[in-house]
């Protein structure tokens, strides 16, 4: 770079058909190399996003198969298909998989793919960190599942209460693998979250002030901010547990003066915000997708955005409602009970905003719309059952019964899986250039919807009739037989629905109808670029004047948006950094080249954890050394990124 390249007035241009030279240049600069080299070194958010989604769906299938196996065991009383140990590992691994390896990552995948496109950016703020986040997620998933494959899966449920998780009662290596795997996964989630927050604050297109950001971005940034504060709690809890089990500390060791409840506090201080972290982005997808099919903007954009943030803030103050039966003083019970009931208010904002959007719109019955609309009912069911468990005296009865199992599945499947499948129908054309089959989509929707309610609604009733959760079998004559049989039948029907979804993806990926840039006539920036988008996303950086740039021709706007006119950034990989509130251009950012550093760092980091798991301390030390070297190399100031001093006149 010459001195002139350290500061410049960016040129402005209008993107035109056949503007071959500019896009050729951009393509050359931004495209990853073909083959394995490009695969391991790419930092393209679209590539990483798709990998996240595919990996998360693979875990969804694994977790689903586990559930089907133990639903067979529970279909009738007194079954012996599984031993108690097998049952315990299956249900624990199922929970771990769905909550940590599917629900969070799949939303990271969608947000990774979509964020730069909806925000009008060339990439995420920290592309290499983005790649690192994915690779570590993959390594953590493999680490946890490798242990499971060797019979060392977690066996104390996903929240892993001590002292059952302590060495004295759980002598095998199961919990060690679970602990270390969770810490490793926590690194992935943390760096991913930091990336989302910085991207949200700095990478929005010029003119996209904070009140013009799609709700999906609000959902994900809220979840990510929460993760930044919450993940350390669970990573610490697992680390302290690992120390208790392996180096003789006494954090959770009650007889020695430690505290078993400390685990529960640390876990749920993380756990409850996490529950919101894995639904808020999904609610954001509905808030952005649903209005497209209602042919009008979302009702109450501002209150929905604020409600998203408010839910999270309150979400940090309700963790004790997971501990109502632990004998806490009634003063703190009252406080947390009231907070847990009142947290429903911001959720009500969302529900009524979506309802009003449909009511005042003209709904178009696509498969995506059906998933989004049905989500409202499922969310309501999951919400009111959550409200019931918020009431302490009622919770003393409901907790740890199948009622809670029903509740959490309505929340996680209703508010995560249904929106995610809807979002796939909505954005698959953008990802691949082809539409998913609508006819198969109807079958897909109805089997999933009927199967889900058939499978999970009866759990409320078996819960009210006293069926405890996490039992590997139950006796005849408790009044739960028929309910369990229906539940198992429903879960298989639901699985068939998921299978139809997968079939549709494979089929449409090859033979689906070509989609074009904007198949749904949707308003946001991702639909202004070709499907699939080119590696650089936007030929020129769009300029934004409203929340619905592509609908301005019909709805008008305070200021006009220019989806196809704006800054030309073509001197290497460049992006625009904008101000936090108003989205005013502040700096031309030099974006990093493709790099092996993230991939290598994920391997060396995993090496540390393998070393700790097998107590090969030298291996862990090697991993630390390797990681340190990698990080120093990664952060080495680069002139091409504008990080070092300008060459002086004589130098």
């Amino acid at each position: 770079m010459t001195i002139a390249d350290y500061e410049r007035v960016p040129t402005v241009a209008v993107e035109e058909e056949g503007q071959g030279a500019l896009s050729e240049n951009l393509k050359r600069v931004w495209e990853s190399r073909p083959g394995i080299a490009g695969f391991l070194s790419t930092v393209d958010h679209k590539e990483i996003g798709l990998r996240y989604i595919v990996t998360a769906f693979a875990f969804l299938i694994a977790g689903g198969v586990e559930a089907l196996i133990f639903r067979l065991q529970l279909a009738w009383p007194g079954q012996h298909l599984l031993t108690p140990e097998q049952y315990d590992q299956l249900f624990s691994t199922h929970g771990m998989t769905m909550i940590f390896l599917y629900a969070g990552p799949v939303l990271s995948g969608f947000s990774n793919y979509l964020w730069p496109l909806i925000l009008g950016a060339r990439d995420m703020a920290l592309p290499r960190l983005n790649a690192l986040s994915y690779w570590i997620y993959l390594c953590a998933g493999i680490f946890l599942y490798a242990a499971f494959a060797f019979g060392f899966g977690p066996n104390d449920g996903w929240f892993n209460y001590v002292p059952y998780a302590a060495r004295a009662y759980n002598a095998g290596p199961n919990i060690d693998f679970y602990s270390l795997g969770m810490i490793l996964l926590g690194i992935s989630t943390t760096v991913g979250s930091i990336n989302f927050v910085v991207t949200f604050l700095r990478m929005r297109a010029p003119g996209m002030s904070i009140n013009r950001v799609p709700i999906l971005a609000w959902g994900t940034v809220t979840a990510s901010a929460a993760n930044i504060f919450a993940i350390p709690a669970v990573s610490l809890a697992f680390f302290l547990l690992w120390m208790d089990r392996n180096v003789g500390t006494h954090f959770f060791d009650a007889p020695a003066g430690g505290s078993a409840l400390l685990w529960q506090h640390l876990f749920w201080m993380f756990g409850h915000p996490w529950v919101y972290a894995i639904v808020l982005p999904a609610m954001g997808m509905v808030s952005d997708g649903l209005p497209v099919f209602c042919r009008r903007p979302l009702v109450g954009y501002t209150v929905v955005a604020l409600a998203t943030v408010a839910t999270m803030v309150l979400g940090f103050g309700v963790w004790v409602h997971h501990m109502f039966a632990t004998g806490l003083p009634s003063v703190s019970l009252s406080f947390f009970s009231a907070a847990s009931i009142i947290i429903a208010v911001p959720s009500a904002v969302g529900v009524f905003a979506w309802l009003a959007t449909i009511w005042t719109g003209r709904p178009v019955f696509t498969t995506a719309f059906m998933f989004f609309a049905s989500f409202i009912v499922l969310f309501t069911v999951g919400g009111v059952s959550g409200f019931m468990t918020g009431s302490v005296p009622v919770d003393w009865q409901l907790t740890d019964t199948y009622f809670v199992v029903a509740h959490l599945h309505y929340v996680l499947i209703g508010i995560n899986v249904f929106p995610v499948v809807g979002a796939t129908y909505f954005w698959f054309p953008k990802f691949t250039g082809r539409l998913l089959d609508e006819r198969l989509g109807r079958w897909n929707f109805w089997t999933m919807f009927v199967g889900f309610n058939l499978g999970f609604f009866p759990m409320h009733i078996s819960g009210l009739l006293g069926m405890p959760r996490r039992v590997y079998t139950y006796a005849d004559g408790m009044g739960w037989d028929w309910l369990n049989l229906i539940t198992t039948a429903g879960s298989f029907l639901f699985a068939i629905g998921v299978l139809l979804f997968i079939v549709n993806i494979f089929k449409s990926y090859r033979t689906g109808t070509p989609a074009g840039a904007n198949p749904w006539d949707a308003p946001t920036l991702e639909w202004s670029v070709p499907s699939p988008p080119p590696p650089y996303n936007f030929v020129v950086i769009p300029t934004v004047g409203s929340r619905h740039p592509l609908w301005e021709d019909r709805l008008g706007a305070e200021e006009p948006s220019y989806p196809h006119a704006g800054l030309v950034l073509n001197k290497g990989r460049e992006a625009i950094g904008t101000s936090v509130l108003d989205g005013e251009p502040e700096i031309i950012l030099k974006m990093p080249r493709d790099s092996y550093a993230p991939f290598i760092l994920s391997l060396t980091t995993t090496l540390i954890f393998i070393g700790l798991a097998f107590q090969f301390w030298w291996l862990a030390a090697l991993g630390i050394l390797g990681s340190g070297t990698d990080i120093v190399g990664w952060l080495w100031p680069e002139r091409s990124l504008g990080e070092t001093a300008e060459p002086t006149a004589n130098g």
Partner: protein
């Protein structure tokens, strides 16, 4: 409006001051690290208020300030040194930048050495009691951060010595300093918790 201004004003290219992406990232790294220490100290206080045998919390009686207090000053001085380094590079003095960084790194190492002796003279080990587990784990977490910080300071020193930074381009210094100031600030919280609160009566 935004776009109109951008047509006429020159924008810096690359990574400078608080407009560098890395600076924003470091802010959130600090937030998540600060949370980690908050949870560590929460664990300390949570266990401190459980019933313990008289005199067993803190284990070995009231903590001794002989090494810890001067060591705290050492760490604070290293923060001052880094601040001076930042101040210097903003005035384009890369020599003082190097001196400041080297001085800070050296003080960081002094802190680690003193901390080693502080550990060695404790009459308990990691696995003696919940207090001892907490003591070594929390101060150990902090020491790990100091180790990372010292390595970082030497790297910054090397890069500075190689003439990478000047009055405008010193984002790495800015970002690294943020981390180091955090490591020092969080020590104050750790120090207050382990060395001062027992004196204030938080003991059994």
């Amino acid at each position: 409006m935004a776009n109109r201004r951008s047509l006429t004003t020159a924008l810096p290219v690359g990574a400078i001051d608080t407009r560098a992406t890395g600076w924003w990232a470091m802010i959130f790294v600090v937030f998540t690290e600060a949370s980690l220490f908050a949870y560590l100290l929460f664990s300390y206080f949570y266990i401190a208020v459980q019933p313990h045998a008289a005199g067993s919390f803190p284990e070995g009686g009231l903590p001794d300030l002989t090494l810890a207090l001067p060591n705290t000053v050492v760490l604070l001085l290293s923060s001052v040194a880094v601040g001076w380094a930042q101040f210097s590079i903003e005035r384009d003095d890369s020599k003082r930048l190097c001196i400041g960084l080297a001085f800070a790194a050296a003080l960081g190492m002094v802190f680690l050495i003193v901390q080693y002796f502080e550990w060695a003279q404790k009459p308990f080990t990691l696995s003696s009691t919940p207090y001892s587990s907490l003591y070594f784990t929390v101060t150990g977490f902090h020491m790990a951060h100091v180790v990372v910080g010292v390595v970082m300071l030497w790297a910054l020193f090397a890069w500075s010595a190689m003439g990478y930074f000047n009055r405008v381009r010193y984002a790495h210094i800015h970002i690294g300093a943020l981390y180091w100031h955090f490591v020092d600030a969080v020590w104050l919280a750790v120090f207050f918790t382990f060395y001062i609160t027992p004196l204030l009566g938080m003991r059994s």
